[in-house]
């Protein structure tokens, strides 16, 4: 095809604002954050120049040079050379540079010039350069480099029109120059920088330097770090209870409407105790999941995330990882998939494999509904939010510590890197959180969660409801009717297997359904344990937790005593019940063996841990 629109590629160091610029040009939704290495894959969009030409744009991961060896930088290199299948070779490159630090950024620009492709330099972050007292001379820079230079402030949308105007095509290719060796390239870069961006003083202390003195302090820094982590979990419990109340009220209102409008029967039962109960039981945790994404977004946006990685480096080194593994692991608390993707920024291949392997043990947000259902049961529902947060922190700590322990073992077995890797990280300037981006990201994740609730969870809840309603028996006794249904038979069959873990057949069934998605467990429990009560119209609808907590074994002893709830908790901390994660692990690790090994290992580990906890717990409780 000859009339395809031309492709423009955004290339630059990590964190200079490529994705911000991508969004400003295309109106796209690329993820932005104040941490080097947010973008790890290419993303496409398109826009029109003022002359009405349509151009394709591709946002690429940041790179310091074109020969970097981590997988994210490899994406960039391959994209520039047109080696990515879905992506033609770019016709034009926009080199995004940080105006406040030209000396560091120009060597890459020169490397790009040597490619001989048309090039435009986007001189971003002019606001920071001005703040630092730099005398910027874009014209001189343009003259020296022989390509157009456009000063801009991508985050405020300034200079975008000028940039679009400069993309007049066909662009002349820059005059071929070859500096041939990197030292010559660097010398040229420094000479040009000295002309185009004169520094008034070598250094002056910025607010970020002052903040860092506290936040990176060997003692104070850790106190702040721990306080931030505690507030994160505490707020998940306390702030989110208000919107949760609304969702609950809405759910009750909906049941009322359905019950008022429909005659008693299977269909009404499907709607109320199947769909509304089951899906509602999961959706109610939406606010808490959003809070988690919000907090992680906040840490990324302000620039604190890089500091946390710096602080954690020493700790991570003891288990054979580095500070670079911190962001992938922390984002796995929200969802393991972006977490596993983020491991692309880790330069050491072995460290990357190990990080991918243990990432699913950072409890992801899909486990939150399960934890939030179980933890109050453990405490009898009377304890304050502070105590609940502490238990929650313990749950997260257990998963995390086991992950570190396994990482250490695994790292020891894989042996040292061929090329020794050292920690190095840019610590970006602190900035006020970008509420717009955070909000959009949170909303996107919320929508994804609701989509899941509307598809996977809804589907399973309906199936489950049908499985425990049919086939009908002639008996009027609900218990006898239940044992006649599919669910009744299945749970009778699996009860002997799951009994040593402390579960009855129904809980066992719920656990099995949660291999489709972890949150399904809560919906399944709501459906499976709503049977006894559904014939009693007058009874006020108990919250599902209270209903489950009141369940007893046939001998009258409580079914969900402390060992049983602990056993369930431990199972969910360790089990890898997420097919998309397994698929992404296979892709990122480049090996299905690794992914399947991880799945089998984690499932067995979960079952075993659960068994030990229940058996030991029961012994202690019984003695």
């Amino acid at each position: 095809m000859t009339d395809r629109s031309e492709l423009v590629a955004l290339v630059g160091h990590p964190n200079v604002g490529k994705s911000t610029l991508f969004n400003a040009l295309t109106g796209g939704r690329a993820k932005v954050g104040n941490y080097p290495g947010i973008t790890v894959d290419f993303q496409q969009g398109s826009f029109r120049t003022p002359h009405g030409r349509r151009l394709e744009l591709v946002d690429l991961p940041g790179c310091l040079s074109l020969d970097g060896d981590s997988p994210d930088q490899e994406v960039t290199r391959r994209a520039i050379h047109g080696e990515i299948e879905q992506l033609p070779a770019p016709d034009l490159v926009i080199a995004v540079v940080d105006a406040s630090s030209l000396e560091r950024h120009l060597p890459l620009v020169i490397e790009l010039l040597e490619l001989g492709k048309p090039l435009v330099v986007a001189l971003n972050r002019v606001d920071l350069a001005e703040r630092d007292g730099l005398r910027l001379e874009p014209d001189k820079l343009s003259e020296e480099l022989g390509v157009p230079v456009v000063p801009l402030r991508a985050d405020a949308g300034k200079g975008i029109v000028e940039l679009k105007q400069s993309l007049r095509t066909p662009l002349p290719a820059p005059s071929q120059r070859d500096w041939s060796d990197t030292a010559a390239r660097r010398d040229t870069a420094h000479r040009i920088a000295a002309v185009a961006a004169r520094r008034a003083t070598a250094h002056h202390e910025t607010t970020s330097d002052r903040l860092d003195r506290v936040l990176l302090h060997p003692v104070l820094g850790w106190l702040v770090f721990l306080a931030i982590m505690f507030v994160l979990f505490w707020s998940i419990f306390s702030f989110a209870s208000v919107p949760m109340g609304w969702i609950e009220a809405g759910q009750e209102w909906l049941v009322g409407v359905v019950e008022g409008a429909m005659a008693e029967g299977d269909l009404r039962d499907l709607l109320t105790s199947g769909i509304i109960e089951g899906v509602g039981a999961v959706v109610i945790f939406l606010p808490q999941i959003l809070m988690l994404f919000f907090f992680i977004g906040l840490l990324e946006s302000t620039g604190y995330m890089a500091r946390a990685a710096y602080l954690m480096d020493g700790f991570m080194a003891r288990v054979g990882l580095s500070g670079k593994a911190f962001l992938p692991l922390l984002s796995s608390y929200a969802c393991a998939i972006p977490g596993v993707m983020a491991t692309r920024t880790i330069p050491s291949a072995k460290e990357r494999l190990v990080t991918i392997f243990v990432a699913p043990w950072m409890s992801c947000s899909a486990r939150l509904p399960v934890y939030l259902l179980l933890i109050p049961m453990l405490l009898g529902g009377r304890e304050s939010t502070a105590v609940q947060s502490l238990v929650m922190l313990g749950v997260y700590a257990l998963g995390t510590l086991t992950a570190f322990f396994v990482a250490r073992l695994l790292r020891g077995r894989l042996g040292p890197d061929e090329v020794e890797q050292h920690f190095m990280l840019e610590l970006p300037s602190y900035q006020a959180p970008q509420w717009g981006y955070i909000l959009r990201h949170v909303l996107d994740r919320g929508a994804a969660f609701l989509r899941k609730a509307g598809t996977v969870i809804l589907g399973i809840v309906i199936l489950l409801w049908a499985a425990q309603t049919y086939p009908k028996s002639d008996s009027d006794d609900p218990a006898e009717q239940l044992s006649h249904t599919v669910v009744g038979r299945v749970s009778d069959a699996i009860e002997p297997v799951v009994r040593p873990l402390g579960f009855d057949g129904r809980t066992g069934t719920a656990v099995i359904t949660s291999f489709a998605a972890r949150e399904v467990f809560v919906g399944s429990m709501a459906v499976l344990f709503s049977v006894d009560e559904s014939d009693d119209e007058a009874e006020t609808r108990d919250r599902i937790r209270e209903r489950i907590a009141a369940e007893t074994w046939p001998d009258g002893s409580p079914m969900f005593d402390i060992p049983a709830v602990l056993s369930l908790l431990v199972f969910y901390i360790y089990a890898l019940q997420c097919l998309p994660t397994t698929a992404v692990v296979a892709r990122e690790a480049g090996s299905w063996k690794w992914a399947i090994g991880q799945f089998v290992f984690m499932s067995l580990f979960a079952a075993l841990a659960s068994l030990v906890v229940y058996q030991v717990g029961s012994l202690i409780a019984g003695s």
Binding site: G68, S101, R199, A202, G314, H422
Partner: protein, 85 residues
């Protein structure tokens, strides 16, 4: 590798960045060792100025207005001389 252009006599008077004093400005005189490529890409190049901001397992420096954290082993490969204040 490129041979260092600095006479041996002068090399002796240089300190490594890992041993340099916190809070002072330095000029980078030589970068040599197994990590020198990485260091240069990051911005630790000969003739640039650097201010050391913190000691530790990873030290923090400011190069051309950018704060960078680098491990001590890497910083040992950066030789600096003080800049008169």
């Amino acid at each position: 590798m490129k041979p260092a252009r600095i006479p041996d006599l002068e090399l002796d008077s240089l300190t490594s960045l890992s041993k340099a004093r916190v809070g002072c400005d330095f000029q980078i005189r030589a970068v040599s060792g197994p990590g020198c490529d990485q260091l240069r890409k990051l911005g630790f190049c000969e003739s640039l100025q650097v201010r050391k901001l913190a000691h530790g397992r990873n030290l923090i420096c400011s190069v051309c207005g950018t704060r960078l954290a680098v491990s001590r082993q890497l910083a040992e490969q950066v030789l600096v001389s003080p800049v008169a204040a």
